[in-house]
Symmetry: C2
């Protein structure tokens, strides 16, 4: 059943095979993804060095070769990358908007101040595209997490032992339409739909906060209280800078979806990262949720 | 500056002048709107009777002629309306999805069970349109709040003493595009945009909860912390059943927008109700927020 044709949208999510030669620079923001990626690089024997953004990256990165930089220490970032021979880089994990009260302007930053100031405006994708272009202009090759660790990408089809009902399929379809409509405006990568009713749309708050809200709506009776119903759907925005900001799920996403009473989770196959894949599928099976990789059809015009 | 052309969208929000003859039945859900409407009806000498949905309507309605019904007491609702001569009705204030564990099925309800069960599926507008059609089929004339009290509708232009900046205007434009894109999928009537970044999109949680979330995002540095920036925009969904569910703002909306650090609020002129208009404008002036009624251009095709 995941074979049916989904929304028209770009792009076909097939990872290109990229040959990453040298040591990999991992520029690390929030969350567990930087360490997940570091482990994947370790596993395949790829040398790497993590540049952790202070106040964003988790202390966990200290398990690996790393250097801390502050927001705005652009010169130190380049210096660290160059000293470690990192011509290839991955930028991974969310970052807050630049907070100019907590900003360390080093020599590199002063030279690039117009660029940095430009980061205080616009949607995520707009900003991330600029960051990628900025590093590329300096001669770095910017890769996505999926180039380094394609095994993290969601595969097509039913990923656990539960399958979606016809009603769930309808909810998935509607959620994909919501994500598609908003993605064109550089908003959101996730939505929750229960029985044809769009309960929540993700913007800046992130998926966890959105799911907590859904659980509260259920508690207060704003959505039905009985039985599992509805879906969380995550998919990349149409035209998204996928090297930087692929949507992600993990065991915690399953736990929060279960708490919100949802019947399952659908993600764009090849377009969403699953952190701790086995644990995520096990959690879905344990909670009775389906986990589905759906294929988005290719874009065929506006 | 509010004169510039906004998004193409339907419909032109010009209230028709409706002659409401008899006593008005006010079917009351959540919030202060039912009482605001009752006061407006009183002020113009229009007799009315409130049918309060138990668990939804505020106790405040007891200040006026009223009858309480439980969710599902369809027969009692008709009986109350008929006994009070209410051929004209207004349905006002949000209601939760029918909760069948807290349901009182009376004789009227049993006859209309398929209709009631149909209310557990679909988006708000989908459901509200069915409710309106249901009452119309029974011979009632269903009006909107704006037919009874057009003075509650937001007017065009700057409503207080503060005016939006060019940057605010851009944020308003983007928020309107978000609401427009989602409205076509029967989602949301509100969004918050700060400097080109869509911070929050309203779905089932309501505007107050969305604004509280924006204040939290500001606290945690996910959005800029300094100075007022950004807008709350509310507008009816494209093609919305406007007789039932017009978006609403009031003094509390202003307080919550101020707490979220926003620069102002824009609403669709003629398409959004302002509860306690004078207090709302005074609150905006006091907090330094602009309050703007924007005109949505007429729809001219897909």
């Amino acid at each position: 059943m995941p074979q049916r044709r989904r929304l028209d949208r770009a792009p076909a999510l097939v990872p290109e095979t990229v040959k990453i030669k040298g040591p990999l620079g991992i520029i690390a923001g929030r969350g567990s993804l930087p360490c997940v990626l570091a482990e994947a690089a370790s596993a395949r024997g790829l040398p790497f060095h993590i540049v952790g953004i202070r106040g964003e990256a988790e202390d966990e990165i200290e398990r690996f070769p790393h250097t801390w930089v502050k927001w705005g220490e652009v010169g130190k970032t380049f210096h660290t990358l160059d000293q470690n021979g990192c011509g290839d880089i991955v930028i991974i994990g969310g970052v807050n908007r630049p907070d100019f009260s907590n900003f360390r302007l080093d020599t590199g930053a002063l030279k690039t101040l117009p660029f940095i100031l430009s980061l205080s405006k616009g949607g995520d994708d707009h900003i991330l595209s600029r960051v990628v272009r900025f590093f590329e202009q300096k001669g770095y090759r910017v890769h996505g997490a999926r180039d380094v660790a394609p095994e993290l990408l969601a595969k097509e089809g039913v990923l656990g032992s539960n399958t979606p009902s016809a009603e769930d399929e309808d909810d998935i379809e509607l959620a994909l339409r919501v994500i598609d409509a908003l993605g064109r405006l550089d908003v959101g990568q996730a939505a929750v739909v229960i029985k044809g009713y769009v309960i929540a749309v993700e913007a800046a708050e992130g998926t966890d906060a959105m799911l907590t809200r859904c659980a509260e709506l259920r508690e207060t009776g704003r959505t039905g209280r009985r039985g599992r119903a509805g879906v969380l759907v995550k998919a990349p925005k149409s035209g998204q800078e996928e090297r930087v900001d692929l949507p992600t799920i993990g065991p915690d996403t399953v736990a929060k979806s279960a708490a919100a009473g949802l019947a399952g989770i659908a993600v764009a196959a090849g377009g969403v990262l699953i952190v701790e894949r086995d644990a995520t599928i096990a959690a879905a099976d344990r909670e009775g949720l389906f986990l589905l990789g759906v294929t988005l059809a290719e874009h065929e015009g506006a």
